[in-house]
């Protein structure tokens, strides 16, 4: 039962020290260097939700990497795409590990973008609640249906429909549910301790 402790030195991607912004996120007590499957999946999905929220979401991810001094970790578009493809549900799934450092960088960026979109996220969730209470179909609201449509389109075009995790998400209603759930998660990412909360939750049920 020797769990690798959080004290293990990690292979720094570059000789220089790590961006300090990552120090706010503790290392989880998991064995090895790579993130668990669920962690990779969740991070990719939360970024997918961001891309559905605003056009040019993937550009935003790269420009935030620049802004937050994370270029040493997320070098360029191809590098980012390879990280995202570590999500086992992707059509273009690449069997590469997602390192803890890379995961931290992606989470930091996701939370920064979410914070910038706080107002939109809150409004969409409140619209959803009102429609849901009154049993009005979600398509009735233009803004919400735009988000849901874009999310479904992104999901269908990028995920492999034959994978077990995707099989459960074949209907539009199921995908809408996932999109709303991710919207709620994004709202939590905007909070004072949102970044830490989201990060720690990615390892629930994964540590020994």
């Amino acid at each position: 039962m020797n769990v690798s402790a959080s004290l293990t030195p990690f292979d720094s991607p570059s000789p220089q020290s790590l961006p300090t912004i990552l120090e706010t996120l503790p290392d989880p007590a998991i064995a090895g260097q790579g993130c668990p499957r669920r962690t990779k999946l969740q991070i990719d999905l939360i970024l997918l939700a961001i891309e559905a929220l605003e056009l040019g979401g993937s550009e935003a991810i790269l420009s935030f990497a620049q802004e937050l001094d994370l270029k040493s970790i997320i070098k360029d578009r191809v590098n980012l795409w390879r990280m995202r493809s570590s999500n086992p549900l992707r059509r273009a799934h690449i069997r590469r590990p997602l390192t803890i450092i890379e995961a931290k960088a992606l989470v930091v960026i996701a939370c920064y973008i979410a914070r910038r979109l706080t107002v939109v996220i809150r409004q969409l969730l409140m619209i959803y609640q009102q429609l849901d209470e009154k049993q009005i179909p979600l398509e009735q609201n233009l803004r919400l249906s735009n988000y849901l449509e874009r999310f479904r389109a992104h999901f269908k075009s990028r995920m492999n429909a034959r994978r077990s995790g995707v099989l459960a998400l074949t209907s539009d209603a199921k995908l809408d549910e996932l999109a709303i759930n991710l919207l709620g998660q994004l709202l939590f990412c905007t909070g004072t301790a949102g970044m830490q909360r989201f990060w720690i939750s990615l390892f629930d049920g994964e540590v020994e």
């Binding site: 609640q129 939750s201 629930d204 049920g205 540590v207």
Partner: protein
């Protein structure tokens, strides 16, 4: 001086009122003095006119439950700390993807109600349904409080992932070798052996242990048959006693034991074993991060007070700070000093898996028996047997998920009111939540932390829940 702190979000306002600790002085020139003593906490939620109010116990429970449930919301992995109705005032239930139920149980009863539970009627719990945005505002109010270093600075946000063992399958218990006479390591009433990871970790002030843990101490008078054999130092290589930080502890358990008699009566040990467990279990909050088992030898007085401890292994000596033991040592201020009282010894193990094990240091010399006066009239017992069966049967439904019989000892008073219960086998311990026993206990006593102090005669029964849904209640035949 009275201080107010307010954390306002669109759907939630948290209002804390308290005082500054004058002894820490030098605050008077500060613009924002430190609120170090909480007098009152109010939580206003949109759509509800009445705030949730309470004292420190309520507030700590609120922040623990909110924090744990926020994590569960994010990961969809159940977080035990968010649903801990046995020892928390506040819990959450998920009702739908976008609906969350906040439940607040009324504060624990005033001191001394245990002896007369019938006069104390519990207020029903308050339930408030929140949607995701409202829940977020509550979490955010709590997080803003955590971020405020001038308000109850000893409460800080400490997040931990839920361990794999809690993710569904029942945990594989790692049993340590205990003296052969001990069958099952002792199990406390409705305790949970899983990792309870309460972020935030609360470091209680060293003045007083949390009053929840050990308010109940039956006065057991040592039975006449208790063999009193003075103890010779048992450990061949004594390790220096860990240095606790509180009031003068018993520095040297061995030397104490050479001067006072030792409690060896099996029945008394068994009762004390549960009391020790019930003190340590709720107080051991941060259950992650142990690399090795920490093993201690405890000296315990006849009323359950922990009067001394000694590290058995090196890790235990170094890791004492990670255990609640220093805070649980009896405080002479609220208990008469110990002189010449007989002492019982226990072996206490904190495992890296977050499991607490308590067992008598030397095991049981004989099969223990239940302590206390018993109702022996065969007709009365028969009637109570039927009554207990009916009550439990009425409250137990649904489809069992366990595969083996759950066995409990359940004690009732002459009116058939449940007074005590304990699991008798491991599965009974693992699946106790599937039985109605904790809820029945909770509804009568408002707590599930310890057995009430019962001086009245009791009738004891063995209650077996079978995977088939069958229930068996038979008169108690003693520990097997």
């Amino acid at each position: 001086m009275n201080i107010q702190r307010k954390y306002s979000l669109p759907n939630c306002t948290l209002l804390l009122e308290g005082l500054s600790d004058v002894s820490r002085a030098a605050h008077f020139q500060e613009l924002r003095p430190e609120l170090s003593i909480l007098v009152n906490a109010e939580c206003y939620l949109s759509g509800y006119n009445q705030p949730l109010t309470g004292g420190r116990e309520f507030f700590e429970s609120l922040v623990r439950a909110v924090s744990a449930y926020a994590q569960e919301f994010l990961s969809s992995v159940p977080n035990p700390q968010a649903h801990n109705q046995e020892s928390e005032l506040v819990e959450f239930q998920k009702i739908g993807s976008d609906q969350h139920r906040l439940i607040v149980h009324s504060e624990s009863a005033p001191e001394g109600f245990e002896s007369n539970p019938t006069n104390y009627s519990q207020r029903p719990p308050i339930q408030i349904d929140l949607n995701t945005v409202q829940l977020f505002d509550l979490v955010e109010a709590v997080d803003q409080f955590f971020a405020d270093s001038q308000t109850l600075p000893e409460l800080s946000l400490e997040l931990q992932p839920v361990t794999r063992r809690y993710g569904g399958a029942s945990p594989a218990f790692i049993r340590q070798a205990v003296p052969a006479a001990v069958g099952v390591s002792s199990l406390a009433v409705a305790a949970i052996a899983f990792n309870m990871i309460p972020p935030p970790q609360v470091r209680p002030p060293q003045s007083q242990p949390d009053d929840k843990t050990s308010s109940i101490t039956p006065n057991i008078t040592p039975s006449a048959s208790a063999a009193t054999t003075p103890l010779t130092a048992a450990a061949a290589t004594p390790i220096a006693a860990a240095n606790p930080t509180s009031t003068p502890p018993v520095k040297n358990l061995e030397s104490l034991l050479t001067t006072v008699p030792e409690i060896t009566d099996a029945s008394q040990l068994r009762a004390l074993n549960r009391q020790v467990y019930n003190q340590i279990h709720p107080a051991w909050t941060n259950r992650l991060g142990l690399k090795q088992e920490l093993i201690y030898r405890l000296g315990v007085a006849a009323d359950g007070a922990i009067v001394g401890y000694k590290a058995v292994n090196k890790e235990a000596n170094e890791g004492i700070g990670q255990t609640p033991l220093p805070n649980l040592l009896y405080n002479p201020a609220n208990r008469a000093p110990i002189s010449n009282e007989p002492i019982a010894q226990f072996r206490v193990v904190f495992t890296p898996e977050g499991v607490l094990q308590v067992s008598p240091w030397r095991g049981y010399l004989r099969t223990p028996e239940v302590i206390g006066t018993k109702i022996s009239d065969a007709n009365i017992v028969k009637g109570l047997n039927q009554k207990l069966y009916n009550t439990v049967r009425r409250n137990w439904g649904g489809k069992p998920t366990f595969k083996r019989d759950l066995k409990y000892r359940v004690a009732v008073n002459k009116d058939g009111v449940i007074a005590d219960y304990e699991p008798l086998n491991q599965v009974a311990f693992d699946y106790f939540r599937e039985t109605p026993l904790p809820k029945m206990f909770q509804s009568i006593y408002g707590s599930n932390v310890a057995a009430p102090n019962n001086q009245e005669p009791l009738a004891h029964f063995q209650v077996v829940f079978k995977p088939s849904g069958t229930l068996e209640v038979t008169p108690w035949r003693g520990y097997q």
